[in-house]
Symmetry: D2
Subunit: 211 residues, 4 copies
């Protein structure tokens, strides 16, 4: 299982979380990545943890003020980027361009989708992975694996061959992660469950414990 | 072959073009639809020609000022809507919602895409059809069937089972339409070739003549 | 006072509401306009009521699939267009272009804004009018003139010279309209209060009664 | 004069340019800031040069994946942010929110605008400054101060009291900068003239020499 910890725009200390995540990854052998604000990629990556951007633009070098250039996040230490999170939905053509731009810079991509239909679509753009997150469950504490397990199994079935499916929204316990794995997910997107926890280390250890 | 005549925001008389298109459709038995500005749907549909909208929103009834409600374009006489034209690219989630909203209102949808990858993606949203139009060829007079025939054949191969592929961009002669059909396309998107022609009837008749 | 009745994407009969609005306008001498879905402009305008679009694009004639061309809504019978409603927020450059495109087509524009600062900004683009609508009050039934009267008076003070200010959000009674006028507003934007009323005529008559 | 060096998504070494810019600023006493990609803010700021972001989101802390949080760019070392560059045009409401979010984080903002009307509008949102850049001149090498000097003088006249006006587009020589100052501009936005120069130091020294 691949555990991606999305720090969104939370008021947490990204370096502290990253340090904890890196240590838990090392201790447990579970692959854990942290996705901080773009401005924090460099300091998060310097902790040694696998670092992902929360977004990447489809443009290459050029006159693109305010873009998130794949080459720039790669240089800062990112090894991949989320795309099309439900809090940053993108045009189909821009997801396609973003996956391409990321590949040229040696970055992976996880394209988020709201439902199995969108998983089927997004996975045809050949990203490293897709993630299904029903928007209505994000931040609720009710895991998709419990609220709507069919969303996960249908997404796994709908995805293009060879494209792994992660799931997200409401995942906060080790049991949620284990349930996601049972449904066929090869990873999880986490956010508030760890980033807002009083004790992020304990929260993260509990999450990966069943793996 | 399904011939869709996109009037964009051209300075043409939409009712005149619609009348011609309806007559040519009747004379030749070729299915021809006209896609006018939303404000012109009612008068275009009243000519009896098959009428498509150039866009439809994914929303249902409610507080959505400035949207293009599926129920409203259906009431005005549309039988379908284009979605995600390269001049009006949409977010993946909004294409998905638009296809759904259109279906609820009894409307078909043709989702446009820039390349075979996007065709593969768009067709998984289960629209009535997809259309592949390389943006760099739009308005050039160089047909995709000649400039880049592989785009058409790969799109036909990439599309989900049962979803027909139209092609567009640069199609202006009957030979272009015939070539598109030979490559596996089940329709064409036309624009300037007819809408800006001195004699739209002659242009349209020449286009459908090989069919 | 100018009363603009925004029908949004409500499940109402736009022609019925338009007929009522036209009759109330005639009986009372109050200027009342109806803003229907773009596809309904033609049939609404044919009732004789003053008709406004809910949106207009900044583009002129050309390759702009899915746009709302000023010339097309003018031809369908609109005499103006709302711009930048909080349900269809626009880029600053597109509001500017939309006001210009509307003027070239002989259309007025009412640019919506969320607060007095945005009123100050929007009014500098020289629209026919601006409208201030605090987003948090839209659809609540609590009128801005009561919940936050300073928003109206500050907007009137902030607007560029010669640009009248309308107010909206939560207006549903004649007393609300009168209060708006007392605060310096020269019109009101109405929506659910009339469009969703069991008896739209009674609702509209009650609204304009104090004028 | 305030000289802002926008590195866009150019294939330059941002730290090298920043180092040069910081040295030229120190030697000449001219205020010079560098605006790199968001991922490069931290390393650019660590050179000691005044650092600006190319964009900032209007959101505060919370669930905003893929945003450019003001607090995050401030922590990385930025002292301000461009907003609404013609390569990243924003909604009016988002410019307003961006200026506010930046202020709360102790950041200045320069809101870009295409013409004097938009300068009048943007300056009413109370940013630290506005910048006028006719889009058709960006990257041309023809300075706005020569191609269309009225744009600068009208922008200075149109801006709200107390809001300085910068100008940009096509500025590449010291004479261009001096001409901009003569027209009333209190700063310039530079991009390719320095970032793409073979000798950035020589290019920058020549630019600020007349000041």
């Amino acid at each position: 299982m691949f555990v991606v910890l999305n720090l969104k725009a939370y008021p947490c200390d990204p370096v502290e979380i990253a340090t904890v995540a890196g240590e838990v990854a090392e201790e447990t052998g579970v692959r854990i990545a942290v996705a901080p604000q773009t401005a924090d990629i460099e300091s998060v990556a310097s902790t040694g943890v696998e670092t992902w951007a929360q977004h990447v633009s489809g443009v290459g070098h050029g006159s693109h003020t305010g873009s998130t250039l794949a080459a720039a996040i790669a240089r800062a230490g990112a090894s991949g980027a989320l795309l099309n999170h439900s809090e940053r939905r993108l045009r189909l053509a821009d997801i396609d361009a973003g996956v391409r731009a990321a590949k040229r810079a040696g970055l992976g991509t996880i394209v988020c989708a709201n439902n199995p239909r969108q998983v089927a679509a997004a996975s045809r753009l050949a990203p490293a992975a897709v993630a299904v997150e029903p928007p209505e469950l994000i931040g609720t504490g009710t895991p998709v694996s419990k609220a709507d397990p069919d969303v996960v199994t249908e997404s796994v079935r709908a995805a293009a061959e060879g494209v792994p499916v992660l799931c997200g929204a409401g995942i906060s316990t080790g049991a949620d992660v284990a349930a996601a794995a049972d449904l066929g997910a090869e990873g999880v997107l986490l956010a508030s469950g760890v980033a807002k926890a009083d004790d992020p280390r304990a929260a993260l250890e509990a999450l990966v414990e069943p793996l």
